[in-house]
């Protein structure tokens, strides 16, 4: 199903980050968001996920706008941001179970997800002993364990070694082959075939300060 946004604008920390932004993602496609730091890549991803409400404009799936049924929108997406959502007291498996079960995934899927991200040997290590790379792979394992069609990834390959980057690339390819969609914010060339790119700087807005006219 197609997911699109029209005339989106977002104010972040009192600054108009972007305005008049249009995008559309179809099953099987990948949209790469590029732009310098602070150009609004993360803000756009958060708007797409529904965490941040756009100041103007609206998001919609083919069967209706997101605002009408936010829970249904949430069930169709998986958001991997900079933060790993990992509890130091829980083990690797328990951490993944918390999130995967919330999205209705089975234990079998959880095990296969851990294997895909090369974490099968370390199920019982408590979260606090994991290295940064392992933490990122665990948060990416949430993608493999869920069957949500839309993936929103914010700089997925940071702190990952070459082998893990390949694992991520094949994960995304597999997901797209199965009819899934991915929106990836990154400044690094991921080497993913036929992606459409959206440069945030094209939608940078003149900073219209509503307090401007106050004398």
């Amino acid at each position: 199903m197609r997911f699109f946004g029209e005339n989106l604008s977002c104010v972040r920390g009192e600054r108009l980050v972007f305005s008049g932004l249009e995008f559309a993602v179809d099953p099987g496609t990948a949209l790469v968001l590029t732009g310098s730091n602070g150009s609004g890549k993360t803000s756009l991803l958060r708007v797409m996920s529904g965490l941040t409400r756009p100041t103007v404009g609206h998001l919609a799936w083919q069967d209706g706008p997101v605002v009408d049924n936010p829970e249904c929108h949430h069930s169709r997406l998986n958001y991997v941001g900079h933060l790993d959502a990992l509890k130091p007291v829980l083990s690797v498996r328990e951490n993944l179970q918390t999130w995967a079960r919330l999205h209705g995934s089975t234990d079998k899927k959880i095990a296969s997800a851990l294997k895909k991200l090369g974490l099968e040997g370390s199920e019982n290590i408590p979260g606090r002993y994991l290295s940064t790379g392992q933490r990122r792979r665990l948060s990416l394992a949430r993608l493999a364990a869920s069957d949500a069609p839309l993936w929103l990834l914010d700089e997925p390959t940071i702190a990952l070694d070459a082998a893990s980057v390949d694992a991520v690339r094949s994960l995304i390819a597999e997901h797209r082959a199965a009819g899934g969609m991915a929106v990836i914010a990154t400044n690094v060339d991921l080497g993913i075939a036929d992606t459409t790119t959206l440069n945030l700087l094209d939608f940078a807005a003149a900073d219209e300060d509503i307090w401007e006219g106050v004398r």
Partner: protein
């Protein structure tokens, strides 16, 4: 584009014209009220002259509740219709309300001393006003506790609405609690039967305080708008220097 539902510049011009219409009548009314209160109204047969404190105590109590109600309403408008000026009016009103509540408590205590020989009486209304004072302090503290003013505004707005729902509950509980623990010796602040000649200064002072509040509210809102503008400009310049 954000302009269409909040035009601070237009509001500011409107405020500039309105302010004198609030400020001068407020001054006149308060002066007239003072004259009536201090010189032209009879002393109470029981309490003698101390009843004159009532002419500032009761209006400030009205204002304490009136300002909190206006804060709750503007907070609700700010949250529902995302109107930044509404949040600003709540932010501007809070210190004024807090001052009125403080004055109400102070004059209540000064009134209590000659009547019962104690500075503080756990009378139902005084106790409720004391809790209202903490609600004001909570609002202002929460408002300034965030780096992003927009975030502070919205959290404080939610608190104002929750507080507003709780004011009657607190009032009811404290009244009930007061009747339960009513020490025999203390006379409730029911105050003397209001004779018409006493009602005039009370009413005049009340309207005078309200006009004073409106004028000061507009003035403080203008200050807040200018502060927002200064903040926007300095951030824009920082952003420009960063991108150069």
């Amino acid at each position: 584009m954000i302009q269409q539902y909040a035009n601070p510049a237009r509001f500011n011009r409107l405020a500039a014209t309105l302010m004198p219409w609030f400020a001068w009548p407020a001054g006149v009314l308060i002066a007239v009220g003072l004259y009536f209160a201090l010189f032209n109204s009879p002393p109470d047969y029981q309490q003698g002259d101390t009843v004159r404190i009532m002419y500032v105590h009761v209006p400030s109590a009205w204002m304490a509740l009136f300002v909190y109600t206006s804060m709750a309403i503007s907070s609700a408008v700010g949250l529902i219709w995302k109107h930044p000026l509404a949040h600003l009016s709540a932010q501007a009103a809070a210190p004024i309300g807090a001052c009125f509540t403080f004055v109400c408590l102070l004059t209540g205590s000064l009134w209590g001393k000659p009547m019962w020989g104690t500075w503080w009486v756990w009378d139902a209304r005084l106790t409720s006003v004391l809790i209202l004072f903490f609600l004001y302090l909570g609002f202002m503290a929460l408002q300034n506790a965030f780096d992003d003013p927009a975030r502070g505004e919205r959290s404080a707005a939610i608190l104002a609405i929750i507080g507003f729902i709780n004011v009657p509950i607190i009032k009811f509980s404290v009244d009930w609690w007061n009747t339960l623990h009513q020490p025999a010796s203390v006379v409730k602040i029911s105050g003397p039967a209001i004779h018409s000649s006493m009602l005039i200064p009370l009413f005049v002072m009340g309207v005078g305080f309200t006009l004073y509040f409106c004028a000061l509210l507009l003035l403080r809102m203008k200050t807040l708008m200018l502060a927002r503008r200064a903040r926007g400009m300095s951030m824009a310049q920082l952003h420009q220097q960063a991108s150069e």
